[in-house]
């Protein structure tokens, strides 16, 4: 395990998220506190409806909190407007979803460059950095291909490249291996692990313990509450052997 930076990249402070009101109110998160530092991969596990995805959504500013605070790179997301939250997603936090990650009408390089271009970057510079990011995940040769010309694993690699392109240091992955076979899934997790080891901070939502084994820490959610938090000391290869 690499040495972690001390300042957390992501910090949730007593976050509560309630959907709806009155008798139909749903407490998706109840007083959740979590911090993730650079070089740290945190897995979030729990049964369906436990709030895993909601946690991921509030972490990247896709959803707002009812109470509490979410800080990304020290910036309290609650103080930001919708446009500013979008800017956070362009510059600081990247998402990887279970499937349908890529825009079908853009090539791999264009998908990866998307946050940079939306931030005003030139085509040339954005593409250059996108290709760099693709190379970092080992799929540089796919730069000119469209998503329907790639396998599922390749698409997830591209999605990870997009999540970390540029200066982004926080990757938020929501069951990234859910639509992949085990071998491909392992490869994706290995890649994610490596990127975290290189200095990113990662939050991995999963419901499979063998995938959680790739993480430095596992947080267990139930009914929106953190019920347990465990640190792993087993290295990645061993985690792979366990699967």
């Amino acid at each position: 395990m690499t040495e972690m930076q001390t300042a957390p990249v992501l910090e949730l402070r007593d976050v509560t998220r309630i959907h709806g009101s009155g008798v139909t109110a749903v407490h998706a998160l109840r007083g959740v506190s979590l911090s993730v530092c650079a070089g740290e991969l945190v897995a979030v596990m729990g049964p369906s409806g436990s709030g895993k995805s909601t946690l991921l959504n509030v972490a990247g500013g896709l959803d707002s909190v009812t109470t509490g605070a979410v800080l990304v790179e020290g910036v309290d997301l609650a103080t930001l407007s919708a446009s500013d939250l979008a800017a956070v997603r362009r510059r600081a936090a990247g998402y990887v979803f279970q499937d349908l990650n890529l825009i079908p009408t853009l090539t791999a390089a264009e998908n990866v460059a998307l946050p940079l271009e939306l931030d005003g970057g030139s085509v040339r510079e954005s593409r250059r950095r996108a290709v760099e990011s693709l190379a970092a995940v080992g799929v540089e040769e796919l730069a000119a291909r469209y998503p329907d010309e790639m396998s599922g694993g390749q698409q997830q690699r591209v999605a990870i490249a997009r999540a970390l392109v540029g200066d982004r240091r926080l990757v938020l992955a929501d069951e990234p291996t859910g639509a992949l076979d085990s071998e491909t899934g392992e490869a994706v997790l290995r890649l994610l692990r490596r990127r975290v080891d290189e200095g990113a901070a990662g939050v991995l939502v999963t419901h499979e313990s063998r995938h959680a084994a790739w993480a430095d820490r596992v947080v267990f959610l139930r009914d929106g509450t953190v019920v347990d938090s465990t640190s792993y000391s087993v290295d990645a290869d061993a985690a792979g052997a366990l699967s």
Partner: protein, 954 residues
């Protein structure tokens, strides 16, 4: 790649600060949006083609109309006439005059100077060496041509037609030119009227001095003549008597054709001018000198001193502003219609691109970026459709102008080529692009408001209907209706148009509420219909857009039908032009001598002779005489009306000047011609003039007493009408003080003529009237045959024209003013257009609904629903959308047509409402048949099974 830990953390840029500057970020985001839109359009070809058609077709049609207008304008330009002259293939056409001349480039503006008259030698000397001159043939006078009972008048050219330059004036030759005496080549259209063809024998007879002439000629050929050839056929030289052709001098032929070994340049033209002839030169037409503009007299190297530049008409400011405003209203209406039609397609696209938009949002695109991503589709498709539509129109027009049959509608071949790109097309293209963007506007707004999380997960929570929306819709609609009524009362088309736009916007805003209300009854419906109605209610955006598009078409169809019915009913009861087979005979009451001076004419004799000629053609024909009333002394004009209100001739049903009293709704033709709004008639002629439903006894009694009969509203004040006469000095052109006289009058609002006041001989004989008014020098006669024309004998007009030629009367007869009953055409066109739009909108919405409800259909299938249930749902969805749109549209169309009624029925106020009725056939077809047709189409085109797949988590 350097590990992240090795790099220092990037400097923190506050999220609110654009990293690369606002403008650059804006441009970059639009670049991404356009890229996504372009590629999505390419991937969804079917949907893209649909939008391209909806936007591109109107652009293409309007562009085509503009370009065709350019051609028709060009056809009337001097160059077009020059091309007509040169069509025979001559290098130049020369018109000798009485002395040296000056001319414009194409010879349309000319000056004849004092000097020696030209001779053939002097003209020849001015031409390049080796030139050949061919005189145009001599002509016969107008003769009578008969083939059995069929007869027409016509004149011939006498020529062997050996020279190719002469032959070049005849196209589409069938048979041959005459090769000997006793043979004739006929104008093809003349031959058809004579029912003669190649091998027929026609009889040619003369009139006047040539009364004894009678020849039988064998038709050996037919062809289409160039109008510059001045004849309707060709015979052998010496076959028939010759008349002096209308040239400037009797010493030389009026026209020479020139075949030259070298181009007849402008320098040569000037030499010939100095010799005493005008020249139309091929070389000058093809490559005019640049030192002169067309239509100014041009000398050797520049315009003549004092030559006026081409005048560009400057419309008066108020008229120009009003026309611009009216144009703006029309443009807004067009944009709205296109946006409504194309809206469902963009709504479909929004739903299909939802995941993509979610990914853009997750990648850092804010609401503005999401809106731009959707709007960019409108831009991409709008540009493609508009530019493509305009280009297609240009190509089609360019091809059509090469087609002689098409061109023959307004010109001979030789119309100049199309301009490369008329500026007006830019405006049309811009409107198309704006309309496409407008169609994408609502989906863009919805996209911007969407929740990224819901979008990524494919959830689409039901948006609450804003309470303000139906209130705004109702308010806007009522305001629109009020504005329409005000516009009609003010006879202001701009205000009227604004009201129509507001009314339509009101329906657009109200439609979601209507959908919600109709959805409440869903529970009482069978399962399939219930699902369809509730699903349509959940997805109001797509349903409302489609229903509004259908409503617009239905409103137009029902409105036009109701209005047409009202005007047809009104016209049938009042307008003499709809009396069957009424022709207009233009009386030759103004005749001029060779010097152009007006010669006195025995008007009574001319009128009597004309009646006699008509009765010779048809003994049972009825006639009615209308003579213009002019100021006594020097003629100028007489106006009628109350106070300062004048009633002038109008050629549309909508007046642009609110001070003008509406006095002519449907003016069949401006055949009265003069400025006078008063005509003298005989009381005995009233039945033919006013029509059968007018109060004839009352009108006859009034005229016999010398009382005027006023056919305009507001013309009679206190039992009198004021007639105002004005004069102008023929030499100075100065206007005299107008003089008015009050004449006792009654108002008759049925039996409308374009003229406004009927007076009789008794009226004009009143001393106070006689001082001011007199009988004018123009007039016409209405003539109605005793029985209808039939195809097996010459028509009434043909017989009258023949008798007029025999009597050398010189009168002209129009074809009958019979109106074609277009009720069926209107019905079919209206239903057809509405059905097409309903199908389009209904099927689009159905396809979207089926795609959206795929999981639900899979569930239905899994729980045992029969396959036809899916089809029923599709049919119910399509039928619901079409039915809703047709109902709303029919209602608004009926209201609109009633409001417009005064404008369409001679502006007689709402008192003409007795002619308005609900067009039940049209309403029935629109409201019942069209939705059923749409539902049926959806049934037929829907698959009954959907593959069972894992349900998407929602």
């Amino acid at each position: 790649m350097t590990a992240l830990l090795d790099r220092p953390p990037a400097p923190v840029t506050p999220p609110s600060v654009p990293r690369h500057g606002r403008v650059r970020t804006w441009l970059a985001q639009w670049r991404v949006a356009l890229r996504l839109a372009r590629r999505d359009a390419w991937r969804s070809k079917g949907r893209s083609v649909l939008v391209l058609l909806i936007v591109g077709l109107p652009v293409m049609i309007v562009s085509g109309v503009i370009l065709w207008g350019y051609q028709s304008i060009a056809a009337n330009q001097p160059r077009a006439y020059a091309e007509l002259w040169l069509q025979g293939g001559a290098d130049a056409v020369i018109n000798p005059q009485t002395g040296p001349v000056e001319q414009s480039l194409y010879g349309d503006v000319t000056n004849t100077l004092t000097g020696p008259a030209p001779t053939e030698a002097t003209i020849w000397a001015a031409l390049p060496e080796g030139s050949r001159l061919v005189a145009m043939p001599e002509l016969t006078p107008q003769l009578i041509l008969e083939n059995g009972e069929w007869g027409v008048t016509g004149g011939f050219a006498l020529s062997e037609m050996a020279d190719p330059m002469l032959r070049g004036y005849w196209r589409n030759l069938e048979g041959t030119f005459p090769r000997a005496r006793g043979q004739v080549l006929l104008d093809a259209s003349l031959a058809r009227r004579l029912h003669a063809g190649i091998g027929s024998t026609i009889t040619v007879s003369g009139t006047g001095d040539q009364r004894s002439l009678r020849r039988d000629l064998l038709v050996v050929g037919t062809a289409d003549p160039n109008p510059m050839f001045w004849s309707t056929g060709v015979v052998w030289p010496g076959e028939l008597p010759v008349v002096e052709a209308p040239g400037a001098t009797s010493a030389l032929p009026p026209v020479y054709l020139v075949d030259s070994p070298t181009p007849i340049t402008w320098d040569v033209v000037r030499q010939v001018n100095k010799a005493g002839a005008f020249v139309t030169s091929r070389a000058v037409v093809d490559d005019p000198p640049t030192f002169c503009t067309p239509s100014v007299v041009c000398l050797d190297d520049g315009p003549a001193p004092g030559a006026m530049p081409d005048m560009v008409s400057q419309p008066t400011s108020p008229d120009a502003a009003r026309e611009a405003a009216l144009g703006g209203v029309v443009v807004v209406l067009v944009i709205l219609q296109i946006a409504l039609l194309a809206g469902p397609a963009f709504a479909v696209q929004l739903r299909r691109r939802q995941r993509e938009l979610g990914l853009v949002g997750a990648s850092g695109g804010d609401a503005k970026v999401l809106r731009r991503t959707v709007l960019a589709s409108g831009v991409v498709l709008g540009v493609a459709a508009s530019v493509g539509g305009a280009a297609l129109a240009w190509i089609a027009t360019a091809v059509a102008t090469k087609n002689e049959t098409l061109l023959s509608t307004f010109s001979f071949p030789g119309v100049p080529p199309l301009p490369p790109f008329p500026r007006e097309l830019l405006g049309v293209i811009a409107v198309g692009i704006v309309a496409s963007i407008a169609a994408a506007l609502v989906p863009a707004v919805v996209a911007g408001r969407g929740d990224v999380v819901d979008t990524l997960r494919g959830r689409r929570p039901l948006p609450a209907l804003r309470r303000s929306l139906p209130v705004a819709g109702l308010g806007t609609g009522l305001v629109g209706l009020a504005v329409m009524v005000y516009g009609v009362l003010q006879l202001d088309p701009v205000i009227l148009g604004v009201g129509v736009v507001l009314g339509e916007l009101g329906i657009v805003l109200l439609m979601p509420w209507i959908i919600v209300q109709t959805g409440r009854f869903g529970g009482r419906l069978p399962l399939s219909a219930r699902l369809a109605v509730r699903d349509s209610g959940r997805h109001r955006m797509r349903t409302a857009a489609a229903a509004c598009a259908v409503a617009a078409a239905a409103a137009a169809a029902v409105g036009v039908s109701a209005a047409y019915g009202a005007t047809a009913t009104y016209a049938t009861s009042t307008d003499v032009a709809t009396l069957p087979d009424v022709s207009v005979v233009y009386l030759p009451l103004e005749q001029y001598d060779e010097t152009g001076q007006l010669v006195p004419v025995d008007a009574d004799r001319v009128i009597a002779d004309t009646r006699a000629v008509i009765r010779a053609a048809d003994p049972g024909a009825r006639t009615a005489l209308l003579r213009d009333v002019a100021p006594a002394g020097r003629p100028q004009s007489v106006q009628a009306g109350a106070g300062n209100v004048s009633c002038g001739p109008v050629d549309t049903g909508i007046l642009t000047d609110p001070t003008q009293v509406p006095c002519a709704g449907r003016q069949p033709k401006s055949y009265l011609g003069s400025n006078s709004a008063v005509v003298e008639v005989s009381p005995d002629d009233l039945p033919l003039i006013l029509g059968p439903t007018a109060p004839l006894d009352e009108a006859r009694a009034a005229l016999e007493q010398g009382t005027a009969v006023v056919l305009q509203p507001h013309g009679v004040v206190g039992g009198k009408v004021t007639l105002t006469a004005s004069w102008s000095d023929p030499e100075t052109g100065a206007m005299s003080e107008p003089r008015s006289v009050d004449v006792p009058a009654i108002e008759v609002l049925q039996g409308t003529l374009p003229a406004t006041v009927l007076v009789s001989e008794q009226t004009l004989a009143r001393p106070e009237v006689a001082k001011v008014l007199g009988v004018g020098t123009s007039g016409l006669m209405l003539a109605q045959p005793s029985e209808a024309d039939s195809p097996d004998r010459p028509t009434f007009v043909e017989r009258v024209n023949l008798e007029m030629a025999r009597a050398e009367l010189g009168a002209g007869v129009s074809e009958p003013l019979t109106q074609v009953d277009q009720t069926l055409i209107v019905l079919l066109a209206g239903v057809g257009a509405t059905a097409l739009l309903a199908l389009l909108a209904g099927l689009m919405v159905t396809a979207l609904a089926l795609a959206d409800g795929r999981a639900d259909h899979a569930t239905l299938q899994a729980v045992g629903a029969a396959p036809r249930v899916r089809r029923r749902i599709a049919a119910a969805t399509a039928g619901y959308v079409a039915g809703l749109g047709c109902l709303v549209g029919a209602a608004s169309g009926l209201i609109g047509s009633y409001v417009l009624l005064p404008l369409l029925t001679d502006g007689r106020g709402f008192g003409a409402s007795h002619t308005w009725s609900v067009p039940w056939p049209m309403v029935g077809l629109i409201v019942v048949a069209v939705p059923l047709l749409t539902a049926g189409a959806a049934w037929l085109t829907t698959r009954s099974r959907v593959p069972l797949t894992r349900r998407m988590d929602s």
